[in-house]
């Protein structure tokens, strides 16, 4: 090992990950170039959203090439945030088309709007207990991974459209709880630095806070859908 890598790279990184590093960077740059060139050629807005996933995958690859635990800690929020971005962008696209149609409606008086609940075979035949199982499994996992799994359960629950007993104000309170959970997460991190002897308490505070926050963020899409289409 030459002296430069010996001083910069900590000894915790195994030699095999150091050997991966140049290959990883080259492959990730090639993949990113492929993705961006397709993005330039593409004209349709929705297709652009699909193609942008390739540079995102290249980004995960570059971050993971570092080879330490820090890289994993950076990838996890990246994955969940990319999904939240996808939710927001598709929602904006749909909403833009609705407003375009409403402008046309003024010209065509008798145009009829009836937005039905989402018509997917899987969502109709899926057992409702799938939602409960994924929420419980997410609670066991905790952290970003658990948040993603529990959020998937909430999303399926909201997309099926079978529920009608929950009032509208319930979901507004849930967004408030999401903010409180974020505060718990930050306090957990602060405790970890101020009083390191309380590491177990602060670890659990951070883990429990982030799962509630991520899961409720992903449940937000279903709330938007119900408000818009009166599902």
């Amino acid at each position: 090992m030459d002296p430069v890598t010996e001083t910069i790279v900590p000894e915790l990184v195994p030699q095999i990950f150091l050997n991966f590093y140049p290959i990883a960077i080259v492959v990730a740059i090639i993949v990113a170039v492929i993705g961006f060139s397709a993005l330039i050629l593409e004209k349709n807005d929705f297709q652009k959203i699909l193609v942008i996933q390739i540079p995102i995958l290249a980004m995960y690859f570059i971050v993971s090439a570092v080879g330490t635990d820090l890289a994993e800690a950076l990838i996890l929020p990246g994955i969940v945030v990319a999904l939240a971005e996808l939710l927001a962008v598709t929602e904006i696209l749909i909403f833009r088309e609705i407003t375009k149609k409403e402008q046309k409606k003024e010209a065509l008086e008798e145009f009829d709007f009836d937005f039905k609940p989402i018509n997917m075979e899987v969502l109709k035949t899926a057992i409702p207990i799938t939602c409960l199982v994924s929420v419980i499994y997410g609670a066991i996992l905790t952290g970003f991974t658990g948040g993603a799994v529990a959020g998937a359960g909430i999303l399926i629950y909201l997309f099926t459209g079978k529920i009608s007993g929950i009032p509208h104000s319930f979901w507004e309170e849930m967004t408030g709880i999401s903010g409180v959970a974020w505060c718990i997460w930050i306090i957990g991190f602060l405790l970890l630095f101020i009083t390191p002897q309380l590491w177990l308490l602060s670890l659990f505070m951070a883990g429990a806070g982030i799962i509630v926050k991520v899961a409720l963020k992903l449940g937000l899409l279903g709330i938007l859908g119900r408000e818009e289409y009166n599902v």
Binding site: F20, I34, Q47, L83
Partner: protein
């Protein structure tokens, strides 16, 4: 001689790199992708599995689990958007 700490990471790493490049080419310039968004979504599975293999070779268990679970939600969200846009006739 195959050893679990030396040989297997290399195998999964190179397999992941190959899947990532081929899958990216398939998503970007594959046949019929310009007309059908569904084909593009199905093709996107290949680079995602590639990235999961690469994370496996780096021992990032949690990151690999999150990629695989988020991939499922990705299908639900994009296909919901396709259905909504198709209902309004705004997909093309």
């Amino acid at each position: 001689m195959i050893s679990p700490t030396e040989t297997l990471p290399w195998i999964s790493f190179y397999l992941g790199c190959i899947l990532l490049i081929l899958g990216a080419l398939g998503v970007a310039f594959g046949p019929k992708t310009a007309k059908e968004p569904i084909i593009r979504i199905i093709n996107l599975t290949v680079p995602t599995i590639g990235i999961a293999l690469i994370l496996l070779s780096y021992n990032y268990t949690l990151a690999m689990l999150t990629v695989l679970s988020v991939n499922v939600m990705y299908y639900i969200i994009t296909i919901r958007a396709i259905i909504r846009l198709e209902e309004m006739g705004a997909l093309y």
